[in-house]
């Protein structure tokens, strides 16, 4: 333990100094380099966000002059039972869209990095394909796969599980998990590729050392691979959670939030309010709340996964003080 702390301190030393230097050499001329990107970002990201925030305090149909309504739109967001239900659905989808893909990605990355497989590049590319496909294509394909007489049910019947065969997307009880499963399929490839990239960067000698100490595959994975992949896991979770909470196209193109409201999520209501009901103020308020929710959850995940490096930083300061 003491050795590792010392190593960290040595590594952290120069890095810490390097990090500080641009701040001291900060000059306005450097802004020129980022100005084009900043302008683009401002016009297409910051400005629309500000307009959304402004609109959320009005009743606005997109045509006639808007009337200010104070926080009424926000009150509606927090009191509407159907929106509460939609948020609950989002939380369930977090499991399918974030937790499962990361878990599957870890297992696959661990396996692919350990076993020498012929045509590894091919498998890596094939497993990444769901991420490349347009989500409408994905949704239409899965609608066919999950249909009453689709391949999924055919497979179930073939192995004698015909009794659980159902219209997965059309059944009130299975629609949400079914939509979730599609998300898992879309996201796991991204996680896997991220983790594979991270594994390449792990010093092979660590594995050799572990093997000499008699560690098995599982132990090796838990003691070396998993901790080393912390930054990749953090990024994968951020991407997946954002995808889960703002997910719209997969749900809209498979179930439209149905049957009933069993797969309705906030973004379905945002779309309906903005483009069908012409209630732009209400839609904006919901969008702002959803954005803040995503920021908070992503922030919490970051905080949770940064804990270890904070401990490192503390001991770094500690050892620095002792020196």
């Amino acid at each position: 333990m003491a050795v590792t702390t010392a190593t960290r301190a040595v590594v952290a030393g120069p890095r810490g100094r390097r990090r500080r230097s641009p701040a001291t050499a900060y000059s306005w001329s450097s802004l020129l380099y980022v100005a084009p990107a900043l302008l683009f970002f401002g016009v297409f990201v910051i400005y629309p966000i500000c307009i959304s925030v402004q609109t959320s305090f009005y009743a606005y149909d997109g045509l006639t002059v808007a009337t200010p309504v104070g926080a009424a739109n926000y009150v509606a967001v927090f009191t509407d039972p159907s929106l509460r239900e939609a948020l609950l659905h989002s939380l369930v989808l977090l499991v399918f869209y974030a937790a499962l893909p990361v878990a599957i990605g870890l297992v696959l990355a661990g396996a692919l990095s350990r076993i020498r497989i012929y045509g590894l590049t091919f498998f890596r590319a094939a497993l990444f394909i769901p991420q490349v496909l347009s989500s409408v294509v994905v949704a239409v394909a899965w609608r066919g796969l999950l249909a009453t007489d689709g391949p999924v049910n055919d497979a179930l019947r073939a192995v004698g599980l015909g009794s659980i065969a159902t219209s997965w997307l059309g059944n009130f009880d299975t629609a949400l998990p079914a939509v979730g499963a599609i998300g898992t399929w879309v996201q796991y490839g991204l996680c896997m590729v991220l983790f594979l990239g991270g594994i390449v960067g792990i010093d092979r000698s660590l594995y050799e050392a572990a093997r000499l100490d008699g560690a098995g595959a599982v132990r090796e994975f838990r003691a070396i691979t998993l901790p080393a992949l912390r930054p990749q896991i953090s990024i994968a979770l951020i991407l997946c959670i954002t995808f889960a909470l703002r997910n719209f196209d997969i749900i809209w193109n498979t179930t439209r939030g149905g049957p009933g409201t069993s797969t309705a999520v906030p973004s379905v209501y945002i779309y309906q309010d903005a483009f069908q009901n012409r209630a732009l103020g209400q839609a904006s308020a919901l969008a702002v709340v959803l954005t803040l929710l995503i920021l908070v959850i992503v922030g919490l995940v970051q905080l949770a996964l940064r804990e270890r490096s904070d401990v490192g930083a503390r001991s770094r300061r500690h050892s620095g003080g002792a020196r």
Binding site: R19, A23, Y26, G42, I46, Y47, I49, C50, I51, V53, Q54, T55, F57, Y58, Y60, D61, G62, L63, T64, V65, A66, T67, P68, R143, L146, A147, T148, T166, S167, W168, L169, G170, N171, F172, P231, S234, I235, T254, T255, R256, G257, G258, P259, G260, T261, Q272, F275, Q276, N277, R278, A279, L280, Q302, R306, S309
Partner: protein, 449 residues
């Protein structure tokens, strides 16, 4: 090492400050919707038909149109005919898919270079918004000069009539005209009917008697694809039009605050839907099947009946399928109406175009394209299926039972009623709860109990 930790606290503060500052500046600005947009120009009423000389006096002008993609074959015939009649006018048509059109046409009509002539959609979401914002020219003068109010198509104008404030429709000032009509009813697979020893159903009772026979023979009685949530509402409306006066349904859809959805007739219709669903008359997994997939399966011989509208006929082989109306006269509606922009300088050229759209020649073209015209006098159908559909339409228009579609009545009715009906059919809510929920959503817009 997360990417965010690279920003120093002071810089983060600066960035945050900038964002906050710009937000505050913006919020301090004028309310959304003030300024910009199209400016209505003075529109002269016409007192006699527009003459070719009047249009020639306009000089070289371009008439810009926004149309539904589905109109492209019709426009392909109509536009050359128009340009030949009025050589100084160039017609420039922009086609949009239906979903795209209804999502963007209101904003386009509100823009500085609004199209002269465009299609809207009946109901509050599109036409209501257009009327409320004063973006479309009233057409009462055109209707009376060109005689639209006489003849078979007259009653089809009703859904384009609005009160001045855009709060109710069905009566009032005319703002649009559609040359195309639709009729709802039932398609049947003729070979299967013969096999089962059944006659073509002419009423809901006939159908109700036929359904168990089909089910016992191992067929899917009614092919239904309801994942888009609207297909079942069409079946519901066919039943509901027989359990109450269609006039009341039309008034409710039009937003008449004295009407209610919580009627015995609607409860009965919803109960029938639930009963048919639990008896398996819609087959398995209809909520997981899209409407388009369902019609494709039906065309391939899966299912005995398909309850839908004349717009589905194009997918079916006329030799193998028949069509009949279920309600007395059948339920139907008018397709997306055409509107003249209130900011158009070439209104008389647009009026001449609408006149051509409403002519018997165009009506025959419409029928030849496999759709139904509102002008049915003197058109001839080709084939049995088309004749049956046309008969159902004529009967509907004459009986005045073109009640329209439920989703016209409020902007969110499609999802409220579509989702609610899914719950009723799955046995998760009662018919009473369903009609109450629909009425509650409707009252938010139309202010009744």
């Amino acid at each position: 090492m997360t990417p965010f930790s690279r920003t120093s606290p002071s810089r983060r503060l600066l960035l945050g400050g900038l964002v906050g500052l710009s937000a505050v500046t913006l919020v301090g600005c004028a309310a959304p919707g003030s300024g910009s947009g199209s400016a209505a120009v003075e529109q002269d009423e016409i007192t006699s038909t527009v003459t070719a000389e009047q249009i020639a006096d306009l000089g070289d002008v371009t008439l810009t149109l926004w149309a539904d993609q589905a109109e492209e074959p019709l426009m392909g015939l109509l536009v050359p005919a128009y340009e030949e009649a009025y050589p100084n006018v160039t017609v420039d048509v922009t086609y949009k898919s239906f979903d795209d059109l209804i999502a963007t046409v209101v904003n386009a009509a509100n823009s500085a270079d609004a199209p002269d002539l465009f299609q809207g959609n009946i109901g509050y979401a599109v036409d209501g918004a257009l009327v409320k914002a004063g973006l479309v020219r009233p057409l009462d003068d055109v209707a009376s000069v060109y005689g639209w109010e006489d003849g078979t198509g007259a009653s089809t104008l009703a859904p384009s009539r609005w009160t001045e404030d855009g709060s109710t429709f069905g009566d009032g000032t005319l703002y649009g005209m559609s040359p195309i009509s639709e009729v709802q009813g039932i398609y049947y697979n003729e070979a299967k009917l013969a096999e089962l020893g059944l006659e073509a159903p002419e009423s809901i009772e006939d159908l109700e008697a036929a359904l168990p026979v089909a089910a016992e023979a191992g067929e899917t009685p009614i092919m239904l694809g309801n994942s888009d949530q609207y297909a079942a509402t069409h079946i519901f409306s066919d039943i509901a039009a027989t359990t109450q006066d269609p006039e009341d349904i039309r008034a409710w859809i039009g937003g008449d605050p004295d009407e209610t959805f919580a009627t015995d007739g609607n409860i009965e219709a919803a109960e029938t839907m639930a009963e048919w669903a639990s008896n398996g008359y819609f087959g398995e997994g209809y909520d997981g099947l899209g409407n388009q997939d369902a019609i494709a399966r039906f065309a391939e011989g899966d299912g005995v009946f398909f309850v839908g509208g004349s717009w589905n006929g194009a997918y079916l082989d006329a030799d193998d399928f028949g069509f009949g109306a279920l309600a007395s006269g059948g339920v139907g509606a008018t397709a997306s109406p055409w509107h003249i922009s209130s900011s158009s300088d070439e209104a008389i050229a647009s009026i001449a175009f609408l006149d051509m759209l409403h002519s018997p020649e165009t009506a025959q073209w419409i029928l030849d394209e496999g759709r139904l015209p509102v002008v049915t006098d003197g058109v001839t159908a080709s084939g049995d299926l088309q004749q049956q559909t046309l008969d159902a339409l004529t009967a509907t228009i004459e009986a005045g039972t073109q009640v329209g579609y439920y989703d016209w009545t409020t902007t969110d009715m499609l999802s409220v009623m579509g989702g609610g009906l899914q719950e009723v059919m799955a046995g998760r809510t009662s018919a009473e709860e369903f009609v109450d929920a629909v009425q509650t959503a409707w009252s938010k817009e139309h202010g009744a109990s």
